[in-house]
């Protein structure tokens, strides 16, 4: 018989109210949930957080998942991934994995209305900071207004967890987004590059797209440049840099909470 993965019984969880009604069935459900959690920790937690609260990926601790109204849709989403996002397929899993995994993801939904640290802040004040002293719209777009030096944040609340949003505000270079721009899946978006062409002309900007021969760059003034790599003197990719400044010094803790609260509401989160 094939060896079975040991169940992490020690990690077995708080049962939802419906699980307590039939003891025999419940023990099977518990085993399934434990199995589901093992799978979740292996495949999902890196982006969606250890407790499903979100991170680089959105929070799954909600009663309704916008892209997965039912279990069938959730299995399809986990199996096939979401093209154009960092959500990779898991084609090698089967029903033995998908069923406990989707069961576990559903169990992350809070019994009552969602509570997370985004509620510490005031989204209305956050919106004022965003539009006002934060100067955020000079680089970001929300609802069609703003500029495109950084990611469009119109739906950021549905795509990112609050921890990731907070980190992006406090330590932007530690939370570089991936896979949203034209370069391709899992490439760093808005990667800062420094280019010196064969005439010695230097350009610093962000990468818009790249192939094995060319790179497209938008400089700090918004000018588009197209370079042929074999003709460059220097192509420096600054993987640990972001054009965005940290707001750690500019805003108080309360103001950061407000900004996080505002961004979390964008795109119908919660």
């Amino acid at each position: 018989m094939p060896r079975r993965i040991p169940l992490l019984i020690a990690l077995c969880l708080v049962a939802s109210p419906s699980l307590a009604q039939e003891p025999t069935a419940a023990s099977e459900v518990h085993a399934d949930l434990a199995r589901g959690r093992t799978l979740y920790v292996t495949y999902c937690a890196r982006c969606h957080g250890m407790t499903g609260g979100g991170g680089e990926g959105p929070s799954l601790a909600r009663r309704e998942l916008p892209r997965a109204p039912d279990d069938e849709a959730l299995i399809a989403l986990i199996r096939d991934g979401i093209p154009g996002t960092a959500m990779s397929p898991t084609w090698w899993l089967g029903d033995r994995e998908y069923e406990p995994l989707t069961g576990y993801v559903r169990s992350l939904a809070p019994a009552t209305a969602a509570v997370d640290d985004s509620e510490r802040g005031d989204p209305v004040r956050g919106q004022q900071l965003f539009a006002g002293s934060g100067g955020c719209a000079s680089c970001h777009t929300v609802g069609g207004f703003g500029t495109n030096h950084g990611p469009d944040l119109t739906t950021v609340g549905s795509r990112r967890g609050t921890a990731f949003i907070r980190e992006a505000i406090l330590d932007p270079e530690a939370a570089l987004p991936r896979g949203l721009t034209e370069v391709g899946r899992n490439f760093i978006d808005y990667l800062v590059v420094r280019v010196v062409d064969r005439d010695g002309r230097e350009v610093v900007g962000t990468r818009l797209n790249e192939d094995s021969y060319t790179i497209q760059v938008r400089d700090l003034l918004g000018q588009l440049h197209s370079f042929y790599k074999p003709h460059l003197q220097t192509l420096e990719k600054q993987f640990d840099q972001s054009l965005m400044q940290s707001y750690r010094e500019q805003f108080s803790d309360t103001e950061i909470d407000d900004l996080v609260a505002y961004l979390t509401t964008l795109g119908g989160a919660g």
Partner: protein, 546 residues
């Protein structure tokens, strides 16, 4: 035109006569296309007619080397598109054949098309009636090309058949069921046609098939021999499998092998054991998975084997193209077979005996300290997949994969497209159910800016790196060297390119607008050299303008 239709079982002589009559009529009335007469003797000496491309890898040696030399480093910047053929949508991995003015290629899922090589205009198209619910577990719905022999074109189908088509008309002559698609068997590789036989490999290890190589009679599609790649209980090699694990042991044969007519030996690469990432229930070396087999072409008998990756748990199939090279080795001429393996090592073996002559790392790997004197890897402990995940280079797609390498006898360099990519390998459960995935784990590959690719030129004897050309992402496209001194290739980001075969310097490139997932090939029409590559759902043909 009833002569074009030839039913199963008709004597071959009638077929030939029919084709000749048709060809004669064509020559008299149209003057464009000549007869498609490709007897075995022409295949054996394919290198002598570089204006055609008669087998998947160009010749039986699988060098994927074009002896045409019109296009050179000095004029390659003048290369431009001559025509484009738009295929049916899907993943296009075909290597077209060209014989006497006609190009034969395959389109997704298992369609065969004949084109006028001068214009790209279609002459005929044959569609396999592949059921919508066809299984292809662990691989996409692809077909990599056809074989041609005499007046017949041979193709494998996704639902597990081999079909013979009249080369002049596309009419089906016979169809043989190779294996049951319900169990996960498919045929995606281009067949290899030799004298009177068509050799077929199968896919399906991710469904727990027991692999084999088949030889069919070109005359009527009858099975001449079948050699299993996983020995049954009691057979030689069965001691390398625990319990009944051999019954679902994998060992697919999903790429086209090579052939040495003098030795009458076929060389065929064998795929991974099943289940892929969980080896607990198949203790032992798991012969002949991840091996190269030398088979007697008359009987299918295994003459020798060499296993690259014993007891593989990373899905490092050894189906990569075995390239046959005749080399001066230690002061005497020696027949060798070379392979850049998915496991990141390059190998040189004596192809008469299977003796290990040389092996060395050609791409980053973190699973073996090296190879011992017999070529067996010295495995680093704790590099197997685990439930928590184990980071290992290369990724499960390997340091290279299905796409072809190339060897130039002029530079004595072995060119290979390299996937520079690691992965976190996971081990999972695996319970066999017929026709269902049987893999026991998976991977999350490092990707985006954490991965990359190269075209590398290796010294054919030592595997030493002569030059490399970087690619932004790990490639899914092969390479072809030419007598003009160029190496053609493609990138995942849509670049076709030509490199200097001696230095690796880039000399020409073209953005095709979609990922290149094919091997380049070359032919000549009206005395002009042509280069064909596909990208997206289109086959591009390039040439120098007059």
């Amino acid at each position: 035109m009833s002569l074009w239709r030839v039913s199963r079982g008709d004597p071959v002589v009638h077929v030939r006569r029919a084709a000749l009559l048709v060809a004669a009529a064509q020559l008299l009335t149209v003057g464009l296309l000549s007869a498609q007469q490709v007897p075995y003797e022409r295949l054996e000496r394919a290198a002598e007619e570089p204006h055609n491309w008669l087998t998947y890898s160009g010749t039986y040696k699988s060098e994927r080397f074009s002896r045409l030399n019109e296009i050179t480093p000095a004029n390659v910047t003048g290369l431009s598109v001559v025509w484009v053929y738009q295929t049916s949508p899907g993943l296009v991995e075909t290597t077209p054949l060209v014989a006497d003015g006609v190009m034969y290629l395959t389109e997704p899922p298992s369609t065969v098309t004949a084109l006028d090589v001068r214009t790209g205009r279609r002459i005929w198209r044959w569609r396999a009636s592949v059921p919508a619910e066809v299984k292809h577990i662990g691989f996409p719905a692809v077909n990599r090309g056809v074989a041609i022999l005499d007046e017949t074109v041979y193709v494998g189908t996704l639902d597990g058949r081999t079909v013979a088509l009249d080369a002049a008309s596309g009419v089906e002559r016979w169809s043989a069921q190779v294996a049951d698609n319900d169990l996960g068997f498919s045929v995606t590789a281009a067949p290899l046609a030799i004298d009177g036989k068509v050799i077929i490999g199968v896919s399906g290890a991710e469904a727990g098939i027991r692999g084999f190589i088949d030889a069919y009679s070109t005359e009527d599609g009858s099975l001449l021999w079948r050699t299993h790649t996983v020995p049954a209980a009691g057979e030689a090699g069965s001691e390398t499998w625990g319990g009944d694990s051999w019954m679902t042991g994998g060992g697919s044969t999903w790429l086209t092998g090579s052939y040495d007519p003098e030795l009458n030996l076929l060389y065929w690469g064998i795929g991974n054991p099943a289940p892929d990432w969980n080896g607990d229930d198949r203790p032992g070396d798991n012969l002949y998975t991840c091996s190269l087999l030398a088979l007697d072409a008359d009987t299918g008998e295994i003459r020798w084997h060499f296993q690259f990756t014993p007891h593989d748990t990373h899905d490092w199939d050894s189906n990569e193209i075995p390239v046959l090279v005749d080399l001066e080795w230690g002061g005497e001429m020696r027949k060798v077979v070379t392979m850049a393996n998915r496991n990141a090592f390059y190998y040189v073996l004596d192809r008469e005996t299977g003796e290990f002559l040389h092996g060395s790392e050609y791409s980053k790997q973190t699973w073996a300290e090296g190879l011992d004197d017999a070529g067996r890897p010295i495995v680093i402990p704790n590099t197997e997949p685990t439930e928590e995940g184990t980071l290992v280079w290369p990724s499960l797609q390997g340091a290279t994969n299905w796409f072809s390498p190339s060897y130039s006898p002029l530079t004595e360099l072995f060119y290979v497209a390299v996937r520079h990519m690691g992965a976190v390998y996971y081990k999972g459960e695996a319970e066999y159910e017929p026709g269902m995935p049987f893999m026991g784990g998976g991977e999350q590959a490092l990707s985006g800016d954490d991965a990359g690719g190269f075209v590398r030129a290796l010294d054919v004897r030592t595997g030493g790196l002569r030059w490399e050309f970087p690619l932004l992402t790990p490639p899914w496209a092969g390479v072809m060297a030419t007598a003009g001194g160029l190496v053609f290739g493609g990138s995942e980001e849509g670049n076709f390119f030509a490199l200097d075969a001696s230095t690796g310097k880039t000399l020409w490139d073209f953005q095709a607008g979609a990922a290149v997932r094919s091997n380049p090939m070359a032919f000549e029409v009206d005395g002009k050299q042509r280069i064909a590559m596909s990208a997206g759902d289109a086959v591009f043909v390039f040439g120098l303008r007059d």
